[in-house]
């Protein structure tokens, strides 16, 4: 059995702002005439003023200055019979050709793969479905390769998991295409070794430094890939107080896997993160790309056993400094006075107790 009616053009593609005249011709098997028909566009009835009967069973409609399609599956232009029944439909694809994708940035995890992301040329690319294809080839030789794994780092991204050569420049570009045309981005040239990043450091531990109130010790392990890949690592630490959003960055950590934070507030919880940058890859002097920050680790600085009230602030401060130095001394004694270590500890504890008592009596006045 034939379809009740035929629309022309069927499923056209049009530029925004263009005009269109569509016709609906009823099949000879159906007893309908031009005056029995009407049109809707996306469910809304079109004004009869835009209709014209082109024959006994053919009705046309004129659409002017079309806007971009309401949905990417196409605008629904439908020819109805008087009672509302659907006779035929046509999907209108109205939009703009794509523009060159821009801002291509790539990075390689441990020199094993390559992930690239880009931005679409314009906002206007949402009316029509736009396909993006990332292509790459080795400069001077080799054929074009197409990236297959999309959306790994956001909508406009692609991941190349293997078969990448080192010590050779690559040409990378993105092609955007939709029903109205194609656009190719500028070519980006890079060597995998120039865009290397690695995993964040693992096993980040933050601990107190004895009883020191203004210091915390941070320790971490270098990312496992480091020993396999002949690069060195430099690290960065950032830390913040629990209820603040301002991070303090420690930049000059170098390639050690521990660091002491100083000048901190006593009795405060701190969040600490560490990240890693692989540099001097195969001996080059260049830096790589910073890894993600490690998951935040929390620790708190000790609070001195001072009774609240502090009516003698200056004296109190002096005592704190003195105590700190004494503690450090006794700590040292504990470590180095082998023969009398037991004696040292006991004496130290007793001294601390005596110190607490004397503080209390002093501040009670």
């Amino acid at each position: 059995a034939a379809d009740p009616a035929v629309i022309s053009p069927q499923d056209p593609t049009l530029l925004i702002g263009s005009s269109l005249v569509a016709t609906c011709t009823v099949s000879p098997d159906f007893p309908l005439k031009a005056e029995d028909l009407y049109w809707t566009l996306n469910g809304r009835r079109l004004p009869a003023a835009s209709y014209a009967a082109l024959g006994p069973s053919t009705l046309s409609v004129a659409l002017a200055r079309l806007n971009g399609s309401r949905q990417q599956s196409g605008d629904n232009l439908v020819c109805h019979s008087r009672d509302g029944g659907i006779l035929a439909g046509s999907c209108l694809y109205v939009g703009l050709p794509p523009e060159k994708p821009v801002n291509i940035t790539c990075w390689s995890k441990n020199m094993k793969d390559l992930t690239c992301k880009w931005a679409p040329g314009t906002e206007g690319e949402t009316f029509l479905h736009t396909n993006y294809t990332l292509k790459y080839k080795r400069r001077w030789y080799g054929q074009d390769n197409t990236c297959q794994e999309y959306h790994t780092a956001g909508t406009y991204s692609c991941h190349i998991p293997k078969d990448l050569a080192l010590f050779t420049p690559y040409e990378i570009w993105v092609e955007a295409s939709n029903r109205l045309g194609v656009a190719v981005s500028d070519v980006v040239m890079l060597d995998i070794l120039d865009v290397v990043t690695t995993d964040p450091p693992s096993d980040v531990h933050v601990s107190r430094v004895g009883d020191l109130e203004d210091q915390l010790s941070v320790r971490w392990s270098s990312p496992p890939a480091l020993k396999d890949f002949l690069f060195q690592a430099k690290y960065q630490i950032q830390y913040r107080v629990e209820d603040s959003s301002e991070w303090k960055v420690v930049d000059d950590v170098g390639n050690q896997t521990s660091c002491r934070l100083a000048g901190l507030r006593p009795g405060t919880v701190y969040f600490v993160q560490v990240r890693c940058n692989p540099f001097s890859i195969y001996g080059s002097k260049k830096a790589g790309i910073w890894s993600d920050w490690s998951n935040p680790t929390a620790a708190s600085t000790p609070r001195s056993e001072r009774v609240a009230g502090g009516c003698d602030p200056k004296g109190g401060e002096q005592n704190t400094t003195l105590r700190r130095e004494l503690k450090q001394f006794f700590g040292w004694v504990k470590k180095h006075a082998y023969g009398c270590s037991n004696l040292g500890i006991k004496l130290y504890d007793q001294w601390r107790v005596w110190l607490q008592k004397s503080h209390k009596t002093r501040n009670q006045v």
């Binding site: 059995a1 379809d3 009740p4 629309i7 069927q10 499923d11 809707t40 996306n42 469910g43 809304r44 309401r70 949905q71 990417q72 599956s73 196409g74 605008d75 629904n76 439908v78 029944g85 659907i86 035929a88 439909g89 046509s90 999907c91 479905h129 959306h151 909508t155």
Partner: protein, 219 residues
Amino acid sequence: GDSWGIFTFLCAALCNLPALPALNCSEELGAGQSIQQTYDLTRYLEHQLRTLAGTYLNYLGPPFNEPDFNPPRLARAERVPSATVDLDLWRGLTDNARLAANYRAYSRLLCYLRVLDGQVGTAELRHRLAHFCASLQGLVLSIGGVMSSLGYPLPTGPAGPPAPPGAPAAPNDFLKKMDDFWLLKELQTWLWRSAKDFNRLKKKVPPAVVTLRLEARGF
């Protein structure tokens, strides 16, 4: 061995269903539990479909996403066996026929949905469709499991090709949208009907299964 069989039968006859788990008859329990699980799965899919259909119909655009939309089913070959069936016919279905109808329908529906997945535009829709297809695959396997545990053979035949001969792909994009609309509608109707099918099976199966076991033992 024989006395165990009699004991099982008497227990099932005299006790309520919940008492069955007290007996160590894991295979019989398997069918009952599978039917319950299949029922639960159809309800879950029904729920999932509501969200999927909403998103997909919005993608198709008005009038497809309007609540009273009812386009003609144009004279094209029926791709999926319809869920709607005469009430007396439905009541009279044997357990095997009932299960087989469900199995065939969902196998076909799964094929068509998978084709859809390959064509659809937005990433969100593809993601939802993929998730739904995985769940639907689970339902087909679950129904197959019930049939096996009851000793019924799995239906063979055209569960494979997505566009079997006699039902060509839609000739234009608008007709394809209509096909997609009816596919979702048929899926909705089948899930609604399956819940009733499995409810019916739930009540009928356990004693019948025990009888089967006794038959196997030569009683």
